[in-house]
Amino acid sequence: MIRIGGRVVAGPTRRIGPQPGEVIDRSRSLTFYWNGASRAAYDGDTISSALAAAGDRVLSRSFKYHRPRGILTATFHDPGCLVQVDDEPNVRASHRQVAAGMDVRALHSWPSLRFDVGAANQAVGPFLSAGFYYKTFIKPQRLWPAYERVLQRFAAGGRVSASSPHGDYDKRFAHPDVLVAGGGPAGMAAAIAAAEAGAEVMLVEEEHELGGHLRYGDEVALSRLQELRAAVAAHEQIEVLTNSAVTGRYDDNWVAVLQRSMPHVTERLVKARAKSVVVAVGLIERPYVFEGNDLPGVMLSSAVSRLVNLYAVRPGERAVVFTGNQSGEAAAAALERAGAEVAAVVDARRGGALLRARGRGGVTEVETGDGARVECDLLVTAAGWTAPTLLVNMTGVKPRYCDRAARFVPGDDLPSDVFATGGLVGDGDVDLLVEHGRATGLRAARRALETLDGHGPLTALPRLEPADHPALFRSRTHGFVDLSEDVSSKDLVSAAQEGYDSVELVKRYTTATMGPSQGKLETINTVAVLAESTGRTVAETGTTVWRPPHVPISLGALAGRNLEPVRYSPMQPWHEAVRARPIVAGQWIRPEHYGDPASEVRNVRENVGLIDVTPLGKLDLRGPDVPRLLNFLYVNKWSKLDIGSVRYGVMCGEDGVVADDGVTGHLGPDHYFMSTTSSGASAIYEWIENWLQTTFTDWSVHVTEMTSAFASINVAGPNSRELLRRLVDDVDLGPDAFKYMQVRQGTIAGVANCLMWRIGFTGELSYEVHVPAAFGLYVWEALMAAGADLGVGPFGLEAQRIMRLEKGHFIVGQDTDGLTQAFTAGLDWLVKLDKEDFAGRPELVWQSERSDELRLVGLQPTDPTVVPPEASQIVSGANEIEGRVTSSRFSPTLGRSICLGIVSADLAHAGTVVTVKQPDGTRVTARVMEEHAHFDPAGERLRG
């Protein structure tokens, strides 16, 4: 009995006396909750070892047949030991250590683990064979949603909650010389040898402490373990990460390590660029397929050794051991030490066979090959090993089947910076594993430190090969091949008969190997059963492709802290101080308006306004071939642009579709400055670099991204010249000295190296000034202060959008789309097809020859108070689409609604009245205008 505070909390204890290698701390008792009832544990217990100690045999119900399941492997991969812990689904109970107060719940059971309604599925099992759902629920089709809901009730796994906090996750970069995956004897020895050779080593171990199988071995093993651990600890150059797993080895030894042992963060993703990698992940004991092999009480030999030696738990009272190797014998010895009776040992090497296990809710009887029936509550199987080869296979090396050892091995010809050692390579005693590990570690260190020829001769790599092992996969009876997917060997045979007879098809059809362990336990038996039923060999059948991650990795760890970049202009503090309404514009967050966009418009039209246009893309172009480049990138001509002048240009993709627009100025000899749209800034920079680096490699052009180097302010309105004049001394701003479409460099408010260009997106007299970013806020404030009596005020994106629409300027991506070629956008005046080649020219030549193309036009609703929402469709007849409204606003300047829209060619004539179908279904009419511009089409204001 376990007593906590004088209260009995569970049935008869299976905890035994202290064991030499136990990992529990008997001085620290903990209480946790199992399906609502309290359970006792010691610090160091896993959830499943604590439950086993308390006599709990059933840890879950399987998802399909709701069969009771218990401990099978006592490792991370234990298929029947997934539980819900608090709000965390699918926790590995045989790996997760108990924490005080944990609320642990079994999966897939209702109303209770012992009495489960879903277990009725077992009775209809023959009709629920693999893939049954493909064959039924076909008719009537309308009932499928109802059937589907029933199927969904049987979905595997725990629960997530919408109220779960995100949690704390982190990432770290590491640059070890040698990264060792696996902290068993070979891995530890490799780390030690590499460190001795001068390498910085990262040693990663999935379990909670180093040692691998030595931890649950005999006294010799334990003493070697102490030596190795001491040697690892003695090396400052070895960093040990326990309770951590290498989840993938990507190209160039880019290694992902999931670290679960960090205080204060749930999990951390360590991204290591290792100079060399040693894969020493050991072996996984594989289950054996026979009738009843999923019953609680059927355990692998290593699970028994773990439970007894690490957790001091007696896994059963009376055992039958089926074995094909020494691990079975070790388990039998451990059981006897734990006070259990070993009723029978069935040795496969001497012809012994296992037929079936019987029992309800747990093993009660085993039938052996000779027909003998043995009563027992524990059946131990030692049927052989699986080498988890994923990390090696991620280098491109294919696994190879070793017939005499009856297991797949990693394959040959590893890259020169990836090494394998330990059980993955072969079987041997501790001395051999350590010797091989040391020799491998030394090689890895020399590869990493590039001292291949130095530091004396290399010792020969000792021979480490897989030992012969009987091919034990399936008994004469059928049983479960994949416990987590409830797939039996019968299902596989049946699938193969149905034609799903390659390993990839049988996997997809039956879902075998698709569960939480991703085939680490299941693949070999799946392949073996398939080989048997198709008459092929295991080697011919092959395995499915192993895919990362090696162990599942949480979304939180992969995401880390949220590092989505946000870009603000230097004037952001000012915008915030006046409570500008922010708008997300790609990576930027910028002011949409400062309270009333309409009055901002009126102020610009009547006085002067400032808008922060820092997100505009800005590129500095230098070199003698810049004019050639501009001629290629833009659809218009650039050869003759005087120094001091700017020009508007439009770029098209190779498909002739409008990609970007902006203004480029000629600042000096071989020196130009380009502006792009805000949204296109990075794409256009990449596009230009792509041309220069892949096509025009001999052109002398240098492009520098300057978007964030300058703060950009548009000073717009009739008073803009007067405002700038108050702060600029070294540039003549007179209308004849600094004309429309010209650029000047000068000093604003004492800030040198500012660019001023006279252009006008808003349609007003305006100057776009680019000032060194560090002085952006200063210049902005200086302009505001200097213009107080001129009526200066800020305006936001919305006011700018209204004014540009009044002026008829299109916005790339709003008034154009992924199909809008230049002539559709009304750029006939700009496109110069007589230029020699430019981006998009062939397509535009074709387009120029067609007459039935859509056109962008100005539109004014017949009813001036109606503003048809953007995306309203222009229709004819019942529902024939003739175009759409791309931009619409109420113009404060004109006192009416105005639009731009794309319409079919035959409607694109001034005076045509079109029908606009609004999203709410109502229809209004609008008139096609002469020009895109609704206001000042002659441009007198901006030229003034």
């Binding site: 709000d87 689904p89 009709f127 493909y134 039924t136 076909i138 008719k139 089709q141 499928w144 949603p145 589907e148 969904q152 979905a155 595997a156 796994g157 629960r159 997530v160 779960s164 906090p165 995100h166 990507y250 190209d251 880019w254 993703l269 049946s494 149905e498 034609g499 390659s502 990839e504 997809r508 059809y509 879902t511 698709m514 939480p516 895919r547 990362p548 991650p549 599942p552 990795i553 949480s554 979304l555 939180g556 992969l558 995401a559 949220n562 989505e564 946000v566 708008i583 190779e654 949204s679 991506g813 992924g818 199909l819 062939p842 030549v845 953007e870 995306a871 529902n879 689409i881 759409r884």
Partner: protein, 445 residues
């Protein structure tokens, strides 16, 4: 030949299939009909199930050889046999049925495209998918969960409205909904305004959903086999014979096949296979990655897509979340996953649904996408007579499988390009008549 006009009869195939039972001849066979009764019978009697599709020796001649046993190739073969009575047809594949993009995609179906051509085409595909289970007598588990495309800025909200309006006028259910409605459909969604990319609304497409992609491939394979089509797995096309500008057949690792028609349905390998016939395609192959989590109880009722965050996610009936993103930014034939992909994916998914941080990624993989310059497919004839292509599907070939197969079958059988696919011909790249679906197809799923 019974030529079924697209749209004139929604389910000629189904009738044909049913009609065939009990009338086996000429390579056709009696097919066990899948039903609850047949399950019961097999369960009781332990009678062996018939092979879903048979294995055959490779014949020396066929009326048509289709390269690629994915959904496009299998659907083409099936409709050839079912709608046009052309049964001496072989589907050859160097791997196994559905081993390429057809078994690697994220199995999302929708028809809310942007161009009228796109909407019409995918709507036909959705119509065929809607009755596919019954037509093929194979439960393809089409779940019309509803499809949400999130808008995170005013620009994408405007595009959503545009798509909704175009869709409505074409009779496709589609509407823009407010964040609160998004939250009602997906309670795990974070619609607060303090996120990095706030959700401003969504395009809601109720008929969109997910399907069991393998089942579609297998269903077509089984139904085509029943009509006499030969499916040859593990059969790699090594060369394509062309004499005097006409295709004469293919040489495979299992022998020569003569055929007046060869159809290339090889997706990511399309340009390589076409080059065997001397046909150059404007296609670049990029990998597209995907990942799946461990299963949890159903909590995500709809398919969620975010173009701004480059992610789409749905929950399968098994309880797994299936994720995808945009194509990798470099051309490659590698089908290995990268770490960066899962990192970005996870951070974007948690932007949308921060409370699922504890769910774990179980597996990642990649498929190959054959991208064209205008993000539209290439279907139809080529300069080599008899060599037809159904390629260039990029990231959305699975959605198109049935309609493309139906149209390609009509082209093979009648020699005339059906109107539904007439704008998708290879010649458009030489005539300046590109069909852009970049906006709606390239990043949306």
């Amino acid at each position: 030949m019974g030529v079924a006009r697209a749209g004139s009869d929604l389910r000629p195939a189904a009738r044909r299939f049913i009609h065939l039972r009990g009338a086996a001849s000429d390579g056709q066979r009696k097919t066990t009909t899948y039903s609850a009764f047949s399950l019961l019978r097999h369960g009781l009697t332990h009678e062996k199930w018939q092979r879903a599709w048979r294995e055959h020796e490779v014949a020396s001649a066929y009326d048509a050889v289709i390269v690629g046993a994915g959904v496009h190739g299998l659907a083409t073969a099936y409709y050839l046999a079912a709608n046009h009575n052309m049964r001496r047809v072989a589907v050859v594949d160097k791997g196994y049925v559905g081993g390429g993009g057809s078994g690697r995609n994220t199995a999302i179906l929708r028809s809310n495209y942007l161009t009228p051509e796109g909407v019409r085409f995918y709507d036909r595909s959705m119509t065929l998918y809607s009755t596919l289970a019954a037509d093929l007598n194979f439960n393809v588990m089409f779940a019309k969960r509803g499809h949400l495309t999130l808008a995170h800025n005013d620009g994408s909200l405007r595009t959503m409205r545009w798509r909704a309006e175009v869709n409505k006028l074409q009779g496709v259910e589609s509407e823009v909904i407010a964040p609160e409605e998004v939250k009602r459909l997906v309670p795990f969604m974070d619609i607060s305004s303090h996120t990095r990319y706030p959700i401003l609304g969504a395009l809601y497409h109720p008929p969109g959903g997910i399907i069991r992609h393998d089942a579609v491939n297998w269903g077509y394979a089984r139904a085509a086999d029943a009509l006499g089509v030969h499916i040859h797995q593990g059969t790699e096309v090594l060369s394509i014979g062309v004499v005097d500008g006409k295709v004469t057949g293919v040489t495979t690792n299992r022998g020569e096949i003569s055929s007046p028609i060869v159809v290339n349905c090889t997706a990511g390998w399309a340009s390589l296979v076409s080059s065997l016939a001397g046909v150059s395609l404007p296609i670049i192959t990029h990998p597209l990655q995907a990942a799946v989590t461990e299963p949890v109880r159903m909590f995500l009722g709809a398919v969620v897509v975010s173009g701004s965050l480059h992610v789409y996610v749905s929950q399968t009936d098994r309880g797994e979340l299936v994720f995808g993103a945009s194509t990798d930014p470099y051309p490659s034939y590698s089908m290995r996953g990268s770490l960066a992909f899962t990192e970005e994916l996870a951070s974007h998914v948690l932007e949308l649904m921060p409370s699922i941080a504890k769910m774990r990624v179980l597996r990642q993989w990649a498929g190959l996408c054959d991208l064209t310059p205008d993000f539209s497919p290439i279907m139809g004839t080529t300069p080599v007579e008899g060599f037809l292509v159904d390629v260039g599907w990029g990231t959305y070939g699975f959605k198109a499988g049935p309609a493309a197969g139906e149209a390609m079958a009509e082209l093979v059988a009648t020699g005339k390009t059906p109107e539904l696919i007439s704008s998708f011909g290879l010649s458009r790249f030489g005539d300046g008549l590109l069909v852009g679906e970049r906006g709606a197809a390239a990043v949306g799923h």
